[in-house]
């Protein structure tokens, strides 16, 4: 069970949420591509109050040589939270949480990047969370996809990170901080909007199969909306917003 604070009120009497959203409404999302001059590709994503910035470097020579793969590139993904990104300052450096998120994010992106195009090389994806308000791993995945596209790295599809969850026995899209802290379940997914495939999946809490299905439906709906914003950001970067 998440949180375990079942008696915290998270829904208004009219069924809306504390921030006024309906159950299937996501927080506002803004995306910019190509915002870091030193990187090959980069992206800035603001999702609710979350802010993630991603830089992509490479393909470059993979070293040390023992990490090289003869038939494909390796993706070197790091997810990191800035010390000032959370309510209480966090000490700089990796911890168990950031290592796990780095690993599953890398595996999500490996599922779409055409790694076989770059044997023996390395592509670095650096995810920096500057402000955290629940859902940063999803925002990081979305931002990483835009940054990889901005770097011109060929991909089968982009990946959209989005989560639904459960609060007060009600399935809702895109948990905010209070809902994440005091809710009953969280279901983050990495969705490929064109193929409809899933390349990232985690869950914790308590969901019935019906609730899982509804949460998944919400995630797919939101992924289509976020995908449009991702594409618009890349178009803005490369042809001044002309379709």
């Amino acid at each position: 069970m998440m949180g375990g604070y079942g008696d915290v009120k998270l829904l208004n009497d009219d069924g809306t949420r504390l921030d006024g959203r309906t159950v299937d409404e996501m927080r506002p999302v803004e995306i910019k591509a190509g915002i870091l001059p030193a990187a090959q590709g980069s992206a800035w994503v603001k999702h609710g109050l979350n802010v993630a910035v991603v830089a992509v470097y490479g393909p470059m020579e993979a070293h040390p040589r023992k990490i090289q793969r003869q038939d494909r590139a390796v993706l070197d993904v790091r997810y990191n939270m800035a010390p000032f990104s959370t309510s209480d300052r966090i000490r700089p450096g990796f911890n168990r949480r950031s290592r796990e998120i780095s690993k599953v994010t890398a595996e999500a992106l490996e599922s779409v990047v055409l790694l076989e195009r770059y044997p023996r090389s390395k592509i670095r994806v650096e995810i920096e969370i500057l402000a955290a308000e629940a859902g940063t791993r999803c925002v990081g995945i979305t931002a990483a996809s835009v940054a990889l596209a901005d770097a011109g790295i060929p991909m089968r599809d982009m990946v959209v990170g989005i989560a639904s969850g459960k609060i007060q026995d009600t399935v809702v899209l895109d948990l905010d901080k209070a809902e994440d802290n005091y809710g009953q379940a969280d279901l983050p997914m990495g969705i490929c909007p064109n193929t409809g495939e899933l390349v990232f999946l985690q869950m914790d809490g308590d969901l019935s199969i019906e609730e899982y299905n509804l949460a998944t439906e919400y995630n797919y709906k939101a992924a289509a909306e976020i995908h449009e914003i991702m594409v618009a950001a890349l178009k803005e970067r490369y042809d001044g917003g002309e379709a």
Binding site: L36, A38, A55, P92, G93, R124
Partner: protein
């Protein structure tokens, strides 16, 4: 985007210096365009983003309650740290803090601390028991050269927007952090034999020693640092100090303009 061969870059910088030119077309004492945004990050009690040419830097301020040092029971504390994470440039590798990032954080820290812009006594809540610790963390996201000046500017701008979160710690009402003065850094690097202001990444790669000067509101010196191999004369220092006065004054006005006062 690939890094130029250092020896060829150095030759080119020397050739340009003969006719007093710079690789990006600037004059010797010209600054790149600087943009400053403040109070932009949720969760940070003060924040700033500096875009300085191709350099992008964020700074965030956090507060924590701590017990004072035994020899300074009525004083809070200030800590300023910088991270050169691999996000900022392909030349940075993951790992523990590098000597470079420690130097960067400490030079910025000294400029702010020694200017006296933060009244440490005002950070005391209960003498001998409870004081505020102010933590400024600087995050370099894109290293396009001269990260020192960008980090110094981001740090003081973030500090000047900081709100002490007293309510969250149950020690009174939230209030604006009192900051008296705006210390500003100006950095110079020897490129092609002579000093230039605000070195670009290419100039840093192909340059020699660098000098960082932090000036306070009264144009007093608050931190100096010479980095990398090289030797300079007092006359050279006198010349760049004059340039520093002009640029620090302009940037101080930029910081003040952000606060609407």
């Amino acid at each position: 985007m690939a890094a130029p061969v250092p020896s060829l870059l150095r030759q080119e910088l020397e050739r340009l210096a003969e006719s007093d030119q710079r690789i990006d077309g600037r004059g010797r004492w010209d600054r790149r365009e600087v943009q400053l945004e403040v109070d932009i990050l949720y969760n940070a009690e003060g924040s700033a983003k500096v875009t300085w040419g191709d350099t992008v830097v964020y700074a965030g301020v956090k507060f924590e309650l701590r017990t004072p040092w035994p020899d300074r029971p009525t004083q809070g504390s200030l800590m300023c740290g910088a991270e050169l994470r691999p996000v900022a440039h392909r030349k940075y590798e993951p790992g523990p803090p590098s000597p470079q990032s420690i130097e960067l954080g400490r030079v910025v820290d000294r400029g702010i601390r020694e200017s006296g812009c933060i009244d440490m006594e005002a950070l005391c809540i209960v003498p001998g028991e409870k004081v505020w610790g102010v933590m400024i963390d600087i995050h370099v996201l894109s290293d396009g050269g001269n990260i020192f000046d960008a980090c110094g500017l981001a740090a003081i701008a973030a500090l000047r927007t900081a709100v002490v979160p007293a309510e969250r710690f149950d020690v009174g009402e939230d209030h604006v952090l009192a900051v008296k003065g705006t210390p500003v850094m100006a950095s110079f690097q020897r490129v092609g034999g002579r000093f230039v202001y605000d070195p670009s990444e290419d100039e840093e790669t192909g340059g020699e020693e660098r000098i960082h000067i932090t000036l306070g509101n009264e144009e007093h010196l608050h931190s100096l640092q010479k980095g990398l191999k090289g030797a300079f004369t007092p006359a050279e220092f006198a010349e760049i100090l004059e340039v520093a006065r002009t640029h620090c004054g302009e940037l101080r006005e930029l910081v003040s303009s952000m606060e609407g006062n």
